[in-house]
Symmetry: C2
Subunit: 204 residues, 2 copies
């Protein structure tokens, strides 16, 4: 295995262990065993356990930011941009569920300096989404609402799905995406595809 592939597998193993049992409870030895590396082999790739945590968080925020930027580049209308950004966030979540659980629940275990770097990336994401909301407000597509409350509400909806949503249940991922989109855009007063009370819907 090439070095990059081995490191990818290593981060995946670590994310899975941290997500299940928590950063504090997992030893470097366990991460090495899960990744089929010796402990010295593991230290060839990383400097320590916190290094793994940082790389998982950094990888997550890099992926999420890239998705939001691509969504904004690909569309010109605020509603289409938000729809694409929501889809990109959920796509990342479904491809890397453990990563997001670790990012959300355990970034508090990072050293202050590294935590600051992740918080900066989160701030960048917040600014991207708020800019789209403000643009929609200027164009009269969204009602006046606090863009910060709206953006954090969206992140809350997206980042807590792992706590209750089961993609194998009755609500298919595409339906969930549609429901989240309509709740959020409706909350901003955007004219939805069928937002009238009692209108035709995808069914309950």
């Amino acid at each position: 295995m090439a070095r990059a592939a081995r490191e990818g597998a290593l981060l995946g193993s670590a994310a899975s262990l941290f997500a299940t049992r928590g950063f504090a409870a997992v030893s470097v030895r366990e991460v090495a065993a899960r990744a089929r590396l010796s402990k010295p082999g593991l230290y060839y790739h990383i400097r320590g356990k916190e290094d793994l945590l940082f790389r998982i968080c950094h990888y997550s925020m890099t992926g999420i930011l890239a998705g939001a930027r691509a969504a904004i580049r690909a569309h010109r209308e605020p509603v289409a941009r938000l729809r694409a950004a929501i889809r990109a966030h959920l796509d990342f979540h479904w491809r890397h569920p453990d990563n997001l659980v670790v990012l959300m629940g355990q970034r508090g275990s990072l050293s202050p300096e590294r935590r600051r770097r992740i918080v900066e990336m989160e701030r960048e994401y917040l600014d991207l989404i708020r800019a789209v909301i403000r643009d929609g407000q200027r164009r009269g597509v969204f009602r006046r609402a606090d863009p910060t409350v709206a953006a954090f509400s969206l992140f809350a909806m997206l980042n807590t799905l792992d706590g209750w949503y089961d993609a194998r249940g009755t609500l298919a991922p595409e339906r969930l995406l549609d429901e989240v989109e309509r709740l959020f855009l409706g909350g901003l007063g955007a004219p939805g595809r069928d937002r009238r009370a009692g209108a035709r819907s995808a069914g309950l």
Copy 2:
């Protein structure tokens, strides 16, 4: 201090320590010191560290459930009921911020049996909110939307506030409450007080 008051102070000390440093990292000795009890004195009130965690979670869910039930009893219209329930949830959050941080972030450290009891209470809360949403849909006040996605989205908005909202910042608690209400009720298609794009608002 009477036994009940001492236990209340004990739970508060434990919640504060668990919220700041995490359940796993805090020792029974530290909880005792913070509550100004000897370790044997502490064991007069509780059976162990997990007992403290359970009592904090149970206290939180009891308070939140009581608030939601009172909100539903006090009003007859679905919009008024949800408004009052949102207010009650945030009121509890502001009175007991550490409790909610512990409930949300650390209930995973409970034993399976005790975790099940907390999950049952959470399920009861979910059912209360979904029933109000369904009632609003039957009355044609809310659009057709998946009540489960809507209810969990509301909980997500409310339960992640401690991650970003600062009551001493520019957005006063009453304004935050109003913003959250309008986002959520607007997402359900409820006719708001001023939901038209560009309508008069509380200002950005």
